[in-house]
Amino acid sequence: MHKLLEDLPGKEMLVLGNEAIARGALEAGVACATTYPGTPSSEISANLFAVSRETDLYFEYSTNEKVALEVAAAAANCGVRSLCIMKHVGLNVAADVLMTLAYIGVKGGLVILTADDPYMFSSQNEQDNRYYAKLSGLPMLEPSSISEAKEMVGAALTLSEQLGEPVILRTTTRINHSTAKITLGKLAERKTKGSFAKDPFRYVAVPAVSRKLHTLLLQNLDKARELSEISPYNFFEGSGDLGIVCSGVSHAYVSDAVRDLGITGRVRVFRVGFSHPLPEKRLKSFLRDVKKVLVVEEGEPVLEEALRNLAQQEAVTVPIRGKGEDLFSREGEYDPAGVREAMAHFFGLSLPAKETIDLSGAPAVPQRPPNLCAGCPHRATFYEIKQAAGQDAVFPTDIGCYTLGLLPPLSAADFLICMGSSVGTAAGFSRFQDKRVVAFIGDSTFFHSGIPGLVNAVFNNHDFTLVILDNGTTAMTGHQPHPGVDMEALGYSGYGRISIEEVVRALGVQNVLVTDPYKVKKSVAALKELFAKKGVSVVISRQYCPLFARALKTPRKKPFRVSRKCAGHRVCIDTLACPAMYVDDGQVAIHADQCTGCAVCAQVCPENAILPVRE
């Protein structure tokens, strides 16, 4: 039995934030969960997927976040409690749905979980999705702790049903990826089927309907504001004339700092957990009760600006500060010491000098950037493409492990914006400059948002090659399935399967090449032939992700070794730089326990000096 299915209310359990959220969904009777995987949200989905194999929970890895939200929106409009999970940038993909779903609303509860990533531990930007609540007019809840994250899933669903509209639950990486104790509540039964009562003049967003719905949305916003006023998630702590307003994980840093600075009794803290719409009346009265206000919020000055608005309405002139050179940054994460120091500075408190370690004179530690794994087929593909297309070609890339191809010596990533951007930008680059354009996209990303770009390229007759790196899984986020995966082989029944090759051909791409990147010479020759042709072409470079292959327990190949024939050309390390290789006393060598036996280095060696390890 999955550990999150333990039905022992009151039991304490040490869990990851994402597990707590998944448990919260199970305690709240979520019957439909949809997602596209993305760090830092991925483990919520991984756990619900596992739970769905043992229960009547419906879970799907949707093709992308837009589709995920559409599926969940319909489920909720049948009266089925639904949860749609995505990382912050996923909400950009789903934003078209979000904005009008806010008008149309829901019947059963729908919670949209957005996992923001301040500092961009694994993201392309650190946008603050609190603006989506304001933009869409939907309510937003933000937990400050793991146990609160669990609790808020149910609270958000109830709120969603009260208001008849989706509720956004916003977390940040430190909530998703911290581990703490939760107390289990009761598991709920799921209502897995509902009904849909037709009401086209309510549900079909044509202009005449939408004008009415917008009025309704604004009325709902007023109702939501009243609920925010009485929400237990918006609360005061402490007393005194120094004011702090904070939200999310910052509340933990503030609480610790209040104690460390010994200012209990001097500071009033307003923790905002129901952050849109804000409890304006309570905040106004808070502003009247304090002499100055420090706003402690990661990301953009959302609360800070809102508070200034409220102060203006009330003609309150207390200083309200948050972002600024002497206080907090709009970049990155906050940390306990930074919050403590800003509080001391703003409130004029003395802070004992901190003894830190002076590292001047210490030996320089080499960087350790994440790298493509030993035996990763992407490394071979990059090598082959550069052999056939030249170093000079422009390489738009996409989001996945292969983005790591930007590091030398592979240097096979020149431009990246977002999921699917490789294809659209390849079209632009091929049209407006003269170098050859070869774009890279992974199999899962191709299904997510690569296909429209390819349709466009065929229709508008662009001239570039799209390389689809088909490693049989969504590797970067932890081997989730995608529509091209053979689910039967993984032991799952009831799924379809879509052939990338057939899709590409059906879209009208004339020149399609399927390669096995582990066959270097053959791939390079075929690629050269392909690059001689004009127009849109597609290469499907197909080979399993070695980590995934290991998880599938495919037989391991013999590792390779560098024999005495090595003449020290170092082509292997200068072109591939596989992490299984190292230089020992001037001699190239291979770690047998890391080598996967892909044999790509053996094929690039000019002396044929790399050989399989003998029995």
Partner: protein, 167 residues
Amino acid sequence: MSEIHGMAQRGGVVESAIVFGDAESSIISDGEADVLLGFEPAETLRALGRARPDSLVVTSTSTLPPPTAALGKVAYPEVDAMLAVIRKKTGRVVTVDARDLASRAGSTLAQNMVLLGALSRTESVPLSADAIRTAVAATVKPAFVDLNLKAFDLGWEAAGEGETGQG
């Protein structure tokens, strides 16, 4: 406890913070860690700013140079030079050769248990060695319990004989 996921399998730096007690924060700022436990000497040095001048450092001495260094593209510092800096800058240093001890226990994958054993010996965290052993036995797959406990014990023993240095 807080940990950033995902980069470990791709050979990137992974830092986890564990806060004991009644603090609400799950991360540790620079200069505020009581104990710094490093799995690799260069990584211990990289993270040394998290510690204070009087912190305890437990570090493995077995190296795992990043690929660029392993391939001779950039320099990897001498282990002794790194350990000398760590000793000079912090209060107390316990060193163990985690890879060697783990392989003696049966698998280099058990280096975490070696280091946990060494940490336990320092009595710097409020968890007894027996409590940790019980937890390992209860949570590790049965087939690997003995190996992990052996690795833990080897680390515990090594930390007793291991060199410690006063700053």
